[in-house]
């Protein structure tokens, strides 16, 4: 099928944009964009893509002139259902099931796919915290405390840190919040072992997506993007540790050197 070059590249760029934003690896973004352009008649010699963690550069040429666009992407939380949907779409394109306008409509639908309800995400954070608390040796009361701290943490993440804060302060305060809550729970008599409670409840802050994708990007040879993502992971870990350590330090002073 043959379409105007700029329309094809525009569509490929939109697919790449959604993928990159939703937590796909560089390799997958590149592969999907290539597939779409190849199928709709823009071959390898007439276009170039360059993809980084936070931007896509696309250019192409046709008999009518040149196409060039830089698309900055803000990498947000993982939205893997979108990655799955575009993967499926790209498979169907190769089977010849879609015209270009249909692809555009489908991409618009995928972009507007709803996130999981916030209440469910908050509950998942609590359940995850309790589960990890158990894995690291916490008893029933520790797990309940970790569950509550995990709930509170994600309320903070969804309503305060994600919309209003930088990554650094968000994770720092998140780590501090969890520690503070766990200390309070223990003083109130809920849970004995502070360590397992805190370890369980900070787990929702762990940047699993940047970590895994960073490794994947480096394994694929996309070093710049991979290093940026691993650096991001390291930074988040440091911020969590500083948040936890900060509250401990203050607590030690208040309690006169006593801890745990």
């Amino acid at each position: 099928m043959k379409y105007p070059t700029d329309e094809v590249l525009e569509t490929a760029l939109e697919a790449g944009h959604i993928l990159l934003e939703s937590g796909a690896e560089i390799f997958r973004v590149m592969e999907t964009m290539r597939r779409i352009s190849r199928y709709y008649g823009v071959d390898e010699d007439h276009k170039e893509f360059y993809i980084l963690t936070n931007a896509i550069f696309a250019s192409g040429e046709s008999s009518h002139g040149h196409f060039a666009k830089v698309q900055p992407c803000r990498v947000r939380d993982a939205r893997l259902s979108r990655v799955v949907a575009i993967n499926q779409l790209s498979r169907e394109i190769e089977q010849g099931k879609h015209t270009l306008p249909q692809v555009r409509a489908e991409l618009a639908r995928i972009r507007n796919m709803p996130d999981p309800p916030r209440a469910l995400q908050i509950f998942a954070s609590g359940a995850g915290s309790a589960a990890f608390c158990c894995m690291f040796g916490g008893g029933v009361s520790e797990c309940i405390a970790a569950f509550l701290a995990g709930l509170a943490l994600y309320v903070f993440v969804l309503y305060v840190s994600a919309p209003h804060m930088s990554k650094i302060s968000g994770n720092l305060i998140g780590g501090a919040l969890v520690t503070l809550l766990c200390v309070l729970f223990r003083s109130a008599g809920l849970g004995q072992d502070l360590n397992t409670m805190i370890i369980g409840a900070i787990i929702p802050l762990i940047p699993g997506v940047s970590f895994t994708n960073g490794i994947r990007d480096i394994a694929d040879g996309d070093y710049i993007s991979g290093v940026v993502r691993l650096l991001d992971t390291l930074l988040v870990f440091l911020c969590i540790a500083v948040g936890v350590g900060g509250v401990f330090t203050v607590y030690r002073h208040i309690s006169g050197g006593m801890l745990i």
């Binding site: 993982a78 690291f136 360590n195 699993g208 895994t212 500083v242 350590g245």
Partner: protein
């Protein structure tokens, strides 16, 4: 018994994270199985006397392999299973202990915990990177499928 409880906990934790990462619900059972089995394997290997680094390395190879197999089987990106399943492997507890010992004034133990965290992280990186190197054709019948 403890191992079984931990398997269930790891499976629950993995699904909780799958939900936060917005994995489509139809993949939850496989995510739970992969995440639970990976953590169980790592713990079991440690009871055999392997260090945390070694057992994490082997368990992550298992995790990545099974993620790739499931990705081909269910025709979906490998990311779906890998990202959720890797969470129980991440040395979050070690990072916590590093901060803890730093604050209570035991820099020696803090350093040792920090180094272990780093070693485990490197083990995960190597295990994933090496397992991803295995050519697609070992997993795929058809060409052109992106795992």
């Amino acid at each position: 018994m403890t191992l079984f409880v931990h398997f269930l906990a790891a499976a629950t934790g993995t699904v909780a994270f799958a939900l936060i990462f917005d994995v489509p619900p139809k993949y939850y059972p496989l995510c739970a199985l992969i995440g639970g089995a990976g953590f169980w394997l790592a713990e079991w290997l440690m009871t055999l006397g392997l260090s945390q680094t070694e057992s994490t390395f082997l368990a992550t190879i298992f995790l990545t392999l099974s993620s790739r197999i499931c990705a081909v089987w269910r025709k979906c990106p490998v990311t779906v299973f890998l990202i959720s399943g890797i969470i129980p492997m991440v040395p979050g507890a070690r990072v916590y202990w590093t901060a803890y010992y730093l604050v209570i004034g035991q820099p020696g133990r803090a350093l040792s915990e920090g180094f272990t965290a780093l070693r485990v992280a490197v083990a995960i990186v190597l295990a994933i990177a090496l397992t991803l190197e295995i050519p697609n054709k070992f997993f795929h019948r058809k060409k052109h499928d992106t795992p």
